[in-house]
Symmetry: C3
Subunit: 207 residues, 3 copies
């Protein structure tokens, strides 16, 4: 198993844990929690693959189904310790979105799309899973209201192209972009930096 | 019209009725109720077909559009009797998910996927429509909190493969799997069996 | 730039504004507001293209990404005036759904589908963006409860085919269908015409 797979699986595990925990907070049953965990982990990449018109990645190897199962077992067994591991999961999660972003950008490049589509696909891969999770548990998506999250993915996509433009070797491009996502995510949370919110300008709604 | 079509249409009708009733409880207008009924009936199969990269099944014959219309008319006319028919609709609905599951498994097999993908596709076909319905009407999906529902579809997929492994003839495989889904669904509701819910382990949310 | 592009962009701008305003009312941050605006503007066409199995239209030119950005800047700068412009946006929005409906019908025709699929695809193109918007901001979709909206798109699709049947030249068919959508939308709001709502028939829910 290569290093990149290990990171991919760690990210998947962290994403699934985040979905399962939120499902638990809504009293979902085990099966429902599994589904939410799975959607959190693979939802972004699935949306990307459907739009790129390629087979959703998780349908090509059973790992993601298995890892989500392990995440469920982990939450069931280590229930009491999960909260204490918050910081660890936060780091795993940040590693996950960093890797997912780079994978998303590259998969879009491979499908022959222009730069701006690739950056968007990277962002969707990293951030849309958390969005689906929040829709499933019937909450306003957190990634739109708190912290720098999707923005970190977007920035990572731009760093990817900046490094390409510098003619760095592929591995350096990938690592730089991933580190950018990771650092922006971790530092923004650490220093409580967030985007300004749009003040409500009116009450009425247009259909 | 073959027997399997009749069952398919009955299942579609029951699914559409369930969507329309819930939309009515939220004061949707007729058109909105039709859309929710339609999404409940065809949503699962559409998600499956998009992921399998084949044309969504309802775009190939107008029956599903028509049956949803009939379901709307039925609810409008027999409003008062619909509640009394609850048990009948419950049985129709159970027949529907049983058949939808088998159809989903077989469509995925035809697309050349491995066993575990086929079982998941069967489950999505049977259960995802109800999930979309609940997202549309802005409720936490019920199938994640109540009864054995998606789990019955999953079990049916496994029975399908168990019967294949026993070398049963195709029709026996299909019927056995469908009966398994139907019985698990009906008996679990009758005996009030449900999956354990995941207790909330923490309040905080990770984005 | 052709006239049809200008209308397309105006419609996109109006849709994006509507998403951004509703996101603001929920205290989304700038990025979240952008995403909701974008989904409102391109969501319907994306769902259509995924089901027709063609590349989502916004991935083929950067205009939609840019226009949504302009809409965000517009809301940020002209915050105070946006409410006063309500009627203007309403007209833009009505022009948008009129054009989107015709584009949707024709894209579906080009993909070789039968009449009823084409009419549904036109309706999805015009109306599904607003539905996604409401799901994202965690509201019951308004288009199912208020005004004539999706219904106007549906009627426009039928007018399209009626004009085809009259053997009108293409441009006359397109313009007639678009005007039908626009007029039905505007007049129904002006005269406060809406579809009857389905009275709640029962409280219980079927999963």
């Amino acid at each position: 198993m290569e290093f990149i797979n290990i990171i991919d699986y760690i990210g998947t595990f962290a994403f699934a844990i985040s979905g399962i925990r939120l499902a638990a907070a809504k009293n979902f049953d085990w099966f429902g929690a599994y589904v939410v965990g799975f959607v959190t982990a693979v939802g972004g990449g699935t949306l990307r693959d459907v739009m790129l018109d390629v087979t959703p990645f998780w349908m090509e190897q059973a790992s993601y189904v298995v890892i989500t199962g392990l995440a469920l077992v982990f939450v069931l067994i280590f229930r009491k310790y999960v909260v204490r591991l918050d910081n660890t999961f936060f780091i795993f999660d940040a590693v996950g979105i960093a890797l997912f972003t780079v994978v998303g950008v590259e998969k879009s490049i491979a499908a022959g799309y222009p730069v701006w589509v690739n950056v968007i696909m990277g962002t969707i891969t990293g951030a849309a899973g958390g969005m689906f999770r929040d829709i499933f548990i019937n909450e306003v998506p957190l990634i739109f209201r708190k912290d720098i999250y999707a923005m970190a993915c977007l920035a990572g996509g731009l760093v990817y192209y900046f490094c390409l433009w510098l003619n760095l070797p592929t591995i350096a491009v990938q690592v730089s972009a991933a580190i950018a996502v990771f650092l922006i995510r971790v530092l923004s949370v650490h220093f409580k930096i967030s985007l300004p919110s749009l003040k409500s300008i009116d009450q009425d709604r247009q259909a």
